[in-house]
Symmetry: C2
C-alpha cells in the first residue's frame, strides 16, 4: 500500500470504530454518563455555575464558524462541553427555578430516553417505527379519552384505524396549535361545486369562492404568542388573530367575544376558529370554556382549546372542573414536556372527531401511501422521534394518581405562595393563582396606598417607577443564580391598563418547598435595599409622599 492509501484506510477504520466501539468505561463521557445515572442532582449542582456569566462572555467560546478539518477526541469535546456549555447552562431542574414552564424530570425519564435514542425510530411511517406506531396511536387514544371520555367501542373502532388519527404528536405546543388551526382553516373552506378546497386552491380563491373578505381566529388578550405566529404562517395574517378583552381574572369576556363575532360577520369575515385557553401562559387562568363552546357553535366556528399548560389538570378530581367545556372542543393542545414531565420536544393535539385530521391528509409514493397506518399522513412534521414512548411511560408509571398529586400540590403551593406575598406589606399580588401560576411585584406599602389615591398621571409615574424596581430585582436575582422568577408585562384594570412589570412564578417542580419560596421573597426584599436601585426609591418616595401629603392636606 502507498502511504496515501494507508492513511485513507486508517481514516476509514477510525470511522468504523466511531460507529461500532462504545466509549470505554473509564472515558470522560462514560464517567459522566454514570454520574448522571447515579447522581443527577449532584451532577447538575456541581457542574452548572451558579453565578451568571455575561452572555457576551460566553459567546467567545462559541465564536469560531470554522468546522474543524481534523477530528478531535470525544474526551476533548466532552471536557469542552462540561466547562463551557454545561457550566453555563440553566439549572432548569432546580427547585428554586420557578420562572418558566421547564422543570425537573422524574428519574426514569433519563434511561428511558436513552432507549428511545438508541432505537432511533422514525414515526413518520411504520417501516421505520413498527410497534412505535401502535404505541403512539394508543397514547393519542389515552389523551383523547382523558379529554373526551368516549366509550370503549369508540376507541376500539378508531384508535388503530389506518385511515384515521385521533390526533397528532408534535415537537411542541406551537406545532400542535398550528396543526389544529390548519385543520380548522381547511375545514372552514372545503371543496364545493367547482371549488376544489382550500388545501388545493389556497386561501385567495377560497375567500373569493365563498364570498368572504377574510377569516378570523378569536382568542383572549392572554392567548399564547404562537397563535399570532400561526395566523401568519397559515396566510391569514397576524391581524386576523382578533384579541378579545378579558375580565379581572384574565378570562375572556364572553359578551365581548360574541359581539366581536357579530361585528366580524357583518364585515363578511369568516369566524374560522375560537380559541379557549386552559392555563394562560402568563397568569395560569382558564377561559369559560362551556360558554365559548356555545358561541363557537352559534357561529359555526372550530372550537380549539390551548391546554398546553393546563391540560393535565384533568387528572385532578379536585380541580378538573375548572376545565369544564373542554370536552366540547374540536381540538385540544397539550404539551407533554410541560405538565406530563416528559423531556423537551413533545407536544400533541387531539381531535374530538376522528375524521378531522383528514382535512390535512397527504401522501407520497415511497411512504405514507394511501391506506397505510403511517402516522405521517396527518402530521405537520415529517420525520419524528419516538417521544410518545416517554409519554406512555409517564402515564403508566405515574398513572392518574401520580399526576393528580403533582397537579394538586402545585395548585396548593401557588395558593400558599400567594398568601405569603399578601402577608408581606411591600409586595403586591397582581394576579391570584387559579392553577399553579401567579404574578406579583415589589411595591412598598406606601406606594400601594398612594396608588389607590393617585390621579392617573401620578399613578402612571408611580407604576413606571415600580416597573424599573421590579425589573432590577428580577434581573439581579437571576444573575446571582440562587433563584429565578421570570417577568412579564400585564395591564391590570385597577391601574387603568397601564403596563405593569410583574414577577411571574410557575410552581410545577414538586421539589419546590415553602422554605424555598420564603427565601425567594427574602432575597427580593434584600435586593430592594441594594444601592444599585436607591435612586429609583428616592423618586418613588417623592412621588408617593406627594400623593399622600396632598390627601393629608385635603383631609
Amino acid at each position: 500500500m502507498t502511504g496515501k492509501k494507508k492513511s485513507a484506510q486508517a481514516s476509514l477504520e477510525a470511522m468504523y470504530r466511531v460507529f461500532t466501539v462504545p466509549e470505554a468505561p473509564e472515558s470522560t463521557l462514560s464517567r459522566i454518563d454514570q454520574n448522571i445515572s447515579t447522581n443527577l442532582a449532584g451532577f447538575l449542582q456541581e457542574h452548572i455555575v451558579a453565578i451568571e456569566r455575561d452572555l457576551s462572555e460566553v459567546e467567545k467560546d462559541f465564536s469560531d464558524p470554522v468546522i474543524p478539518e481534523k477530528p478531535i477526541f470525544v474526551s476533548e469535546q466532552t471536557q469542552f462541553l462540561l466547562d463551557k456549555l454545561v457550566a453555563n447552562s440553566v439549572h432548569t431542574a432546580s427547585p428554586s427555578f420557578i420562572g418558566h414552564m421547564t422543570s425537573a424530570l422524574p428519574y426514569f425519564m433519563l434511561p428511558l430516553s436513552k432507549i428511545m435514542i438508541a432505537l432511533n425510530q422514525n414515526l413518520v411511517k411504520t417501516e421505520t417505527s413498527k410497534a412505535f406506531t401502535p404505541m403512539e396511536r394508543q397514547v393519542l387514544g389515552m389523551i383523547h379519552r382523558l379529554v373526551y371520555d368516549e366509550d370503549g367501542a369508540f376507541y376500539r373502532k378508531w384508535m388503530h384505524d389506518p385511515r384515521h388519527s385521533l390526533g397528532a404528536m408534535c415537537s411542541g405546543g406551537t406545532v400542535a396549535n398550528l396543526t389544529a388551526l390548519w385543520v380548522a382553516r381547511n375545514r372552514a373552506f372545503p371543496a364545493e361545486g367547482s371549488f376544489r378546497g382550500i388545501h388545493q386552491e389556497g386561501l385567495f380563491r377560497a375567500l373569493r369562492y365563498y364570498g368572504h373578505e377574510g377569516a378570523a381566529i378569536l382568542v383572549s388578550r392572554r392567548g399564547h404568542y404562537s397563535l399570532r405566529k400561526t395566523a401568519d404562517v397559515l396566510g391569514l395574517g397576524r391581524e386576523s388573530l382578533v384579541a378579545v378583552d378579558t375580565d379581572d381574572h384574565n378570562r375572556i369576556q364572553t359578551d365581548a367575544l360574541r359581539d366581536k363575532c357579530l361585528e366580524l360577520q357583518k364585515q363578511k369575515i369568516k369566524i374560522m376558529a375560537i380559541c379557549g385557553i386552559a392555563g394562560t401562559t402568563e397568569t395560569g387562568n382558564v377561559d369559560p370554556l362551556e360558554a365559548m363552546a356555545d358561541i363557537a357553535r352559534e357561529f359555526g366556528a372550530h372550537f380549539h382549546v390551548d391546554a398546553a399548560w393546563g391540560g393535565p389538570t384533568l387528572f385532578s378530581r379536585r380541580h378538573s372542573h375548572l376545565l369544564k367545556g373542554i370536552e366540547q372542543a374540536d381540538s385540544v393542545t397539550i404539551d407533554a414536556h410541560k405538565q406530563l414531565y416528559v423531556p423537551m420536544g413533545s407536544g400533541l393535539v387531539v381531535f374530538r372527531d376522528p375524521a378531522l385530521a383528514s382535512a390535512v391528509e397527504h401522501h407520497a409514493q415511497y411512504i405514507i401511501r394511501q391506506g397505510s397506518r403511517d402516522l405521517g399522513s396527518t402530521t405537520l412534521e415529517g420525520s419524528r422521534p419516538g417521544m410518545s414512548m416517554l409519554i406512555h411511560s409517564g402515564l403508566k408509571i405515574l398513572a392518574r394518581e401520580g399526576y393528580e398529586i403533582l397537579i394538586d400540590q402545585g395548585i396548593a403551593k401557588a395558593r400558599s405562595f400567594a398568601d405569603m406575598i399578601q402577608a408581606r406589606p411591600d409586595f403586591e399580588l397582581v394576579t391570584e393563582p387559579e392553577l399553579n401560576i401567579l404574578t406579583y411585584r415589589y411595591a412598598p406599602a406606601e406606594a400601594q396606598q398612594a396608588l389607590t389615591l393617585a390621579d392617573p398621571i401620578q399613578a402612571e409615574r408611580i407604576n413606571a417607577c415600580l416597573n424599573r424596581i421590579t425589573k432590577f430585582i428580577q434581573k439581579t436575582q437571576r444573575e446571582r443564580g440562587k433563584a429565578f422568577v421570570s417577568r412579564t408585562r400585564l395591564e391590570p384594570a385597577r391601574y387603568h391598563h397601564f403596563p405593569c412589570l410583574v414577577f411571574r412564578v410557575v410552581l410545577a417542580n414538586p421539589l419546590t418547598t415553602e422554605d424555598i419560596l420564603r427565601d425567594i421573597l427574602n432575597e427580593q426584599e434584600e435586593l430592594a435595599a441594594d444601592a444599585g436601585i436607591s435612586d429609583e426609591f428616592a423618586i418613588l418616595n417623592q412621588l408617593t409622599n406627594t400623593v399622600l401629603a396632598a390627601v393629608d392636606t385635603d383631609g
Copy 2:
C-alpha cells in the same frame, strides 16, 4: 394522622422519590442503560425480533385507551417496553437496513444525548438555555459557512447579533422547508404604501394589493412531499406547488422551468420561490442549481435549496462540485438527523442574508422580547430541545474529514452496488446513483429484452406484472427480517412514463459491506423463485414470449 391523610402523605412521598431517587444500579432499567452503553449492537440484536409480526397483532398490546389509576413499577413498564415495544421495533442501525434515510449513530451520540436530556434546556429563550443559545448560533454559523463560505468578518458581525439569525434550528426537514418558504412568502409581499405586509394582513389582501392572481412555488417532479404540504399550510394551496418535468437523470429541466415561469407570469401568478433539490429523496439526484439560481434571479423569486439529504456532500472534496450553485440559494435546508448522523428530531435551515429571518420575526412580553438574543423570535417552533449540542459534537468529533469519508464511501458503495445489479441479468438498474441512493427492480433478462421490442400496450402489461413481482419481493424480504430495502414508484421515460415499482436503496450506514449487498440481491433472487409469486411469473413468461416470438417470426 387519619388513615386518609397518611395515605395522601405516602403518595406525596412516593412522588418525591420519583423525582429525587435514581434507579437502583441493579434495577431492570439501570441494567438496560448499562447494556446499551457497553454493547448497543448486542442489545439491539438481542432484543429486536428479526421476523416481522403483523401490525394488527402488535396493536393488541397497545389497545387500552384507559390511563391506569394506580402507578406501576418502573421495572414492570421497562419489561413491557422490552417485550412489546423494543422487540417489535425496527433495527434502523442494522447494516442491512438500507431502505430509508434513518441509519446507525456514532456511539458518542448516546451518552451526549443523555447530557442533553438531563440538562433539559429550552432554546426558545436564553433564560432557559444560556450557553446553549450561543452554541446554537455557532452551529448555524458553521453550517452557514459550509454552504456560503463567507469570510471571518461576516461571522464576527452576524453570528451572535441579537437582532439577526443566520438560520433556524428545527425538528426536521419539513419544518425547515416550511420556515424557508414562510420567509419567502412574507418577503414576496412586503409592506408598501397602505399595505402593512402579508405577515400582518394575510395572503388575500396581499394578492389584491399587488395585483396578482396567485403565487407559485416551482420544483421538479421529484420534490419532497413536504413542499406540497408547505404550500397547503402557507395558504397557497397544493396546486400552487408547480411540478416541473425532469430529465432522464431526475434533474429539473431548466428550459421547462423557465417556460413555466413565463407562463405563470402571463397569468399574473407571482413566482414566489424556486426550489432546487440537492439529493432527491427517491433517487438521490441533484438539480442544476447554478442554472436555477439564474432563473430565480431573472424572475425575482426566492431560491431555496432542499439539501435535507445531500447537504453534507459539501464536506467531500471529490463530490462537493455536484452541489455547485447552492451558495447562490437564499435559503438551504439540511437535516442533521440524516447525513450528520445526529439522533432523530434535528433539521435546520440557513439563510444567505442575515436579514432574511426578520420576515417572520415575532415577539412576546415574557420571552423573546425585542432586542433579546432569544432564538425563539425567528423559529417556527416555540420550546425546543438542545439538539444543536449533538450537531456541534458531530462537527467537532468527526470533523470535515470524518464526514467526507462517510460521504465518499457511501457514494462509492452505491456505485459498486449499481455495478453488481447490472452484472446480474435478472435485475434492472432503474436510476443510476449520483449520490448514495439508487433504484432498481427485479426484471428477468427476457422481460427486459421484450420491453425493448414491445408495443406500448404490451409494455404496460409487462411492467404491471413486474410491479407485482417487485412489490412481492420487497414485502416478503422485509417480513423475513434479514434485510430491508424500500420501494417507490417512478415513471421512467424509457417506459413511456408508465408507473414502475422499484426497490429503493439508501447507502448511508458505514457498516454496510459489499457482502451484505450481495446477500440482499441473493435473497431477492431466491424470493423470485418463491411459490407465492409463481402465477405472476407464468403471466410474465407468456407476455414476454408473445413479444419475443412475434419478433422472431417477423425476423
